[in-house]
């Protein structure tokens, strides 16, 4: 499963793994901003920005083919919307939309594949994200697969009782689905209450304390500068190549 692989990759020990989450987050934002601000006229060369996350993934020993495949998850939405631009806005805009969305997905993957979620959360809080929001995000991720597995059991139970055989919408199907959702909600709510009681029993005082997991070093700042200079250099190369090809 996708998330299990990402989780496994994030616990590696490559170049990006050793960088502070804040530097990686700021590096990601810098790259994406430069990509976003690059004019559509340079559409044939926008794929060159992909070398930034690809270099990071290589240096961190992340399987490139799998990473490229994961990033392609963005294409089912991006491709159709980009294609309908062609008759009106031209092929350049179509190509630019696809390239920009893919490079962005690859860059985000490079971040998530080399940063365990607790470190990413700490980095977000350090950069000013609302602490409460980040905590809720962590709990959503923590219980996402637990509750999803329960939902799979509900689907299986319904299918084994013939629920999948009818393809027409009916009041009975609606009530059955509502009953399944209601049961899933009740279990989730009870789990939430139980989790909260367990935290109280372990001395939870109303505030979740986190340990500072890493410090910004000169290598991290150097990495950030490298990303910005690298992205700007690629922009310069794109401009020159575009001029040369005209």
């Amino acid at each position: 499963m996708h998330h299990l692989e990402l989780d496994h990759w994030s616990r590696g020990d490559g170049y990006l793994h050793r960088r502070d989450a804040r530097a990686k987050l700021l590096g990601l934002l810098s790259l994406l901003l430069i990509v976003a601000l690059t004019p559509t006229a340079y559409a044939p060369w926008l794929w060159l920005y992909g070398f930034v996350p690809l270099t990071g993934l290589c240096a961190s020993r992340i399987p490139l083919a799998r990473a490229l495949a994961f990033a392609a998850a963005v294409l089912p939405f991006a491709l159709p919307v980009a294609l309908v631009q062609w008759p009106v806005a031209g092929w350049a805009k179509t190509l630019a939309l696809v390239e920009k969305s893919y490079v962005s997905a690859l860059a985000a993957l490079a971040l998530v594949a080399t940063t365990p979620l607790p470190k990413l959360a700490q980095g977000l809080i350090s950069l000013g994200a609302p602490r409460f929001l980040v905590l809720v995000t962590q709990f959503v991720y923590r219980y996402l697969f637990v509750v999803s597995e329960q939902s799979q059991h509900v689907r299986l139970a319904a299918a084994s009782r013939g629920a999948d055989r009818t393809v027409r919408f009916s009041g009975d199907r609606l009530r059955t689905a509502a009953g399944a959702l209601g049961a899933l909600f009740a279990r989730s709510y009870q789990r939430a209450e139980g989790t909260y009681q367990a935290m109280l029993a372990r001395g939870f005082s109303g505030r979740i304390h986190t340990v500072e997991l890493s410090h910004l070093t000169r290598k991290d700042l150097g990495f950030l500068v490298l990303i910005v200079i690298g992205s700007l250099s690629i922009y310069k190369v794109i401009v020159l190549v575009n001029q040369w090809s005209l």
């Binding site: 996708h2 934002l29 976003a36 309908v84 630019a96 409460f132 929001l133 709990f139 509502a178 109303g206």
Partner: protein
Amino acid sequence: MHIPDGFLTPAVLGASAAAGAAAVGLASRRAQKGADEGRAPKLGILGAFVFAAQMINFPVGAGTTGHLLGSALLTITLGPAASIVVMTAILIIQALIFQDGGILALGANVLNMAVVGTGAAWLPYRLLGGSRLRDAGVFLAGFCSVMGAAAATLGSLILSDVHIPVMLGSLSLSLFGVNALVEGLVTVAVVRLLTRMNAEWTPAPPPLSSRGVAGFGIVAALLAAVGGLLASAAPDGLEGLAEQIGITERARLLLASPLAGYEAAFVTNPWLSQAVAGLAGLALTFAGLTALSRILARRKGG
């Protein structure tokens, strides 16, 4: 509905991110209820429920299936502030882990789906959820959450000069409409069930205070007075069709009104003329509905 990176212009990205961040910051403070972070596990697990609930499909006809999206259910069970926080958390995970939605576009996606979607759900539930029309309020909450988010998403794309052919736009809105109907019906069924299991899970909204009513009134007045500046001057579908097939001159005016065509005939300034007509219409509608509700209340009282 998740917009990837590369589709929105820097201006739309910036404005959406600023508006989204402000709304989420405010919602986060309200949802936390002071310094207590103890609500985080409950909101997180219910966010995981929404994710999982999207896996339970049911047929909606024509060989397709639908599923609950969940923002209306979150709004009704947790309140609008907590719903915005949970939906934002879900969108962050979808963008980072599942590459569903862009990173720079996260601000726009949060604004469209978490903030507008929750607001569109809360409004009808706030108005009707405490009355005998509760089921209608719940249905409208589900319906409006989907249509509001869809309209906001399409709006972001259009503002960024992403061309959406009329046929594709109509098809998208129709599909969203079907999803919205399904969302409304499923939300009603689930809320009824949850209320039977434990009434505390689906609390009625607090009664509308006089400040709340005044707030609605101010917003309505502003829309009536200023909305005309933003409205399109193009004819609507029926008028456009009448012009195309050449039957416009057959229209007959049976009753002349000083506010014909949504313009006050006695005001020369174009904007002021529309504003006066809009405010007059608002006042007449308010007076008529107030009178009707008093007559009905008197009849009901005996």
